[in-house]
């Protein structure tokens, strides 16, 4: 039994390997990029809109609204990063309805790469928002004793992001594979439908957690309430 789509190898030459993870990731990237390019080629400003434009507008404004509700003040700034994370993880799990497809997020390499993107993006946005000094002092924030714990939590939440997504996707694929050998007809379909739901929930959670981490890093000191003026 396979633990991840890394083990399906389509083409190999020397140390160059094309496994299923890379191929399906490229396929998803192509579908997402070409699809949105096709939709946004002819945008209309008046009431007459194509249904695909309506769909994309719903997706984009929905993601921006969710980011805003987490506590980030300018959602448009983070929309590119967080929206891409959400769309990639969501389409990776939604495409499991295609036969012969394995979600690339079921490989630890993909999820580790996504989690590393979050790991880099959090200090990036934090420094951009409050400067290097302001960001670094957030590590020693209630007291200096908390410094090692803050650093450990930074590392462990990256690990948790990667392993959570990997474990959910891998367990979904594995349960379907096991059920196919036990009860071949009906139950795998039910579990596939359940897998679509968990895939969407995981995509939501991954991007929301990234948004929460970025919001925690970019919280400026202005958010503290001003002391009331003396009467």
């Amino acid at each position: 039994m396979r633990l991840s789509p890394d083990e399906i190898i389509f083409w190999q030459h020397g140390f160059l390997k094309l496994n299923a993870t890379i191929v399906y990731t490229w396929g998803l990237m192509l579908a997402l990029a070409v699809g949105s390019q096709l939709v946004t080629r002819r945008l209309s400003m008046d009431m007459e809109r194509s249904r695909w434009q309506n769909f994309l507008e719903i997706v984009v404004t929905g993601i921006a609204k969710q980011i805003g509700e987490v506590g980030l003040r300018h959602p448009e700034k983070y929309l590119g990063f967080l929206g891409t994370l959400f769309l990639f993880v969501a389409t990776a799990s939604l495409a499991t309805v295609i036969p012969g497809y394995e979600p690339p997020t079921g490989s630890l390499s993909t999820t580790a790469a996504l989690a590393l993107c979050v790991f880099v993006a959090v200090p990036f946005f934090g420094i951009e928002e409050q400067g290097i000094r302001g960001y670094l002092t957030s590590y020693v924030k209630p007291t200096f004793i908390m410094l090692p714990f803050n650093i450990i939590s930074e590392l462990s939440r990256t690990l948790a992001l990667a392993v959570r997504l990997f474990g959910n996707m891998m367990s979904g694929a594995m349960i379907i594979a096991i059920l196919l050998t036990i009860t071949p007809f009906l139950f795998p379909i039910v579990m596939t439908a359940l897998g679509l739901l968990t895939g969407m929930v995981q995509a939501y959670i991954f991007s929301i957690l990234a948004a929460v981490y970025i919001a925690a890093a970019t919280r400026t000191r202005k958010s503290r309430p001003e002391p009331a003026p003396e009467p």
Partner: protein, 93 residues
Amino acid sequence: MDSMTIIAVASIVIAGITTGFGTMGPALAEGRAVATALTSLAQQPDASATITRTLFVGLAMIESTAIYCFVVSMILIFANPFWNHVIAQAAGK
């Protein structure tokens, strides 16, 4: 029992125990979290968006502990380093 049998038995048994006990705590915790969230949803339907979002994030945090246990037992069964070592030694003989 030679060492090969001991490693095989220990891996299989511990893999089962890991998932069994490791999902017990998160299951109780998620049940409590969902029950409390339903109570507060019934009391304050207006705050449903905030409650649902916080609930999902919290459930993901709780669930990740169960996922860790699952990943550990999957490693024990399918990618066990000790077992691979024993196999490599047996092949080398």
